[in-house]
Amino acid sequence: MGASLFVFGACTIYLLPFLPKNFSGAKWIAHPLFPVFLMTLICIAAYKPLDFFYSEIFKRVLFKRKSFIHMSLIHLAEELRLVLDLQELANLVVNTFGEVLHLKMVAMVVPNLAKESFEIASGFGWSVTDYRRVHLAQNAALISLIQESGPHVLVRNSVVRAEAWQEANRLAHEFDMLQAGWIIPLFLKENLVGLLGFSAEQSDRTFDKTDFHFFREFAAALAKNVHNALTVRELKAANLELQDTQSRLVQAAKLSAIEQLATGLAHEIHNPLTIISGKAQILLLQKERAPLDERVEEVLKTIVKQTKRAADITRKLLMFSQGSGAPKEMLRLEQVLQDTLALVSYQTSLEGIELTQSIGPNIPRLYANVHEIREVFLNLVLNAVQSIGARGGKIHVEIRYLNRERIIEIQVSDTGRGIEKENVEKLFNPFFTTRHDALGLGLFVTKQIIHRYGGSIRVESRAREGSLFIICFSDAQTFATGSTEENASLPSLYLSQEQ
């Protein structure tokens, strides 16, 4: 302002000699104080319009920026109404807020009901690993303060200064944990649904009344969205839990039905088998007194042998249906696999399916419930059998140990009809099935079991070409917990197998 007045004055003095002749002749113009007088006159006359002009320009430049910020954030709040995913919402908020206001760090904090604490849902300027570590208890000093003070924006320095030293220390620590100089509480009516903490790049940055007013408006709009997203998250979790329980119940009912069936079957089949086999044995033992015809002896031996085979099958079926509550033990996966394949080999041979297996060397034992691992194998092989159908094909099961990665890998491949691309992701969902006669729980249960042992399962499939299921048990704990005695016996065990 002063500078412009000075420039005005200087210009006037320079222009004086160019005044029209009739003026320059006047004596009062030549007076040495005349320029000072003239400048004073000009200053008085120009002050008001200049002041108005500058303040107008000042307002326009500065407020245009502010209204731009406010507009973008209002726009953001509008847009957020459509976002129901908490993570997406949090990401959008922190990133836009951080970029538009040129902040150093922004963190959106939401309650975690299960852990009774507040956690950072997303951070701008934060590394994910850093913000995952931040937990603010529900009774933390900061939260209590916010509950008392309501939706006002908290400024670290003023808050810390206002409290007694002990309380101030705790608050300062919590502000620092969130890396925040300012905290905007997100209140929906009386409920605190989250916080937005942020810090500026420059340590001397301040926000004025208009900003705080705006922050409060923004917080009110955002709180509704956060509340919705939190509700959706809770609903999703409850829904998942419900699905899980439902599938467990169906599975339990299905299991007990199989168990009953198998028990009854075992009895009903074993008694006639005992009679057939027993009578054949009696005839066979009579050869001690009178020699038997060679062909008759052969037939009797076959009867005894085949009845034993039939009994073994029912015994295996029984084994499958029992023992879900059995304790874990050190399992030889290849043994479990062979038991399973024996059970399905009849069905596969009927349908013209070639069933092959390859077992790699030195496979560590798996500390697991035999029933569950059997179920994994059975589900995968039956799935492959159903995928191939009656037109014949191949199923190959491979178990190997990847030494370097310390992973037991099980692959089950088939030449069946494969899985359509859009179904691959849904494959492990409960009650997902492409058949009318199936419940769609097999692969879901399989995945649950594998996850229980810290393993993973994935599928590679092409429609009409076949599928490959790959299971990895990668957690070293799973199979390294065996006693040294167990491990010591491994080499000879596998040696015999390789031979």
Binding site: T263, A266, H267, H270, N271, L273, T274, I275, I276, S277, G278, K279, Q281, I282, L285, T307, K308, A311, R315, L318, Q322, G323
Partner: protein
């Protein structure tokens, strides 16, 4: 004379076992139910009992407990189609001397029964 009691709800099984062991010089009685078995143990005092676990009414497990309570010296071999570990352990705790699974291997069964009888004869000798 070696005395054997065969208990099974399946008549055919009782019959061929009776035939088999009679040919090997045993005196064989058969029972189709647990109640009959207990009565026969009281009247005939068999040396060895072949006892089916799964029977309608009083099952093998209950029969075993009753018999062993009164006659602990009698040898009982459990015959089962269901060899769950729990069932076998329960039977062993209740005093069963062995168990075999169906379908039976007659050769093994004979050997086992003969062993039990010989064991009985040995343990009875000093007191006789």
């Amino acid at each position: 004379m070696k005395k054997l009691l065969v208990v099974d709800d399946e008549m055919e099984i009782c019959e061929f076992l009776k035939l088999f062991f009679e040919e090997r010089g045993f005196l064989v009685d058969t029972a189709l139910t647990g109640q009959d078995a207990v009565a026969l143990v009281e009247s005939k005092h068999p040396h060895v009992i072949l006892l089916d676990i799964n029977m309608p009414g009083m099952d093998g497990m209950m029969t075993l407990k009753l018999v062993k309570q009164k006659y602990p010296q009698v040898k009982v071999i459990m015959v089962t189609a269901l060899e769950t570990r729990e069932k076998i352990e329960e039977a062993m705790r209740a005093g069963a001397d062995n168990y075999i699974t169906k379908p039976l291997s007659l050769e093994y069964l004979e050997k086992d029964v003969q062993e039990k009888v010989a064991h009985l004869a040995l343990s009875n000798q000093p007191s006789a």
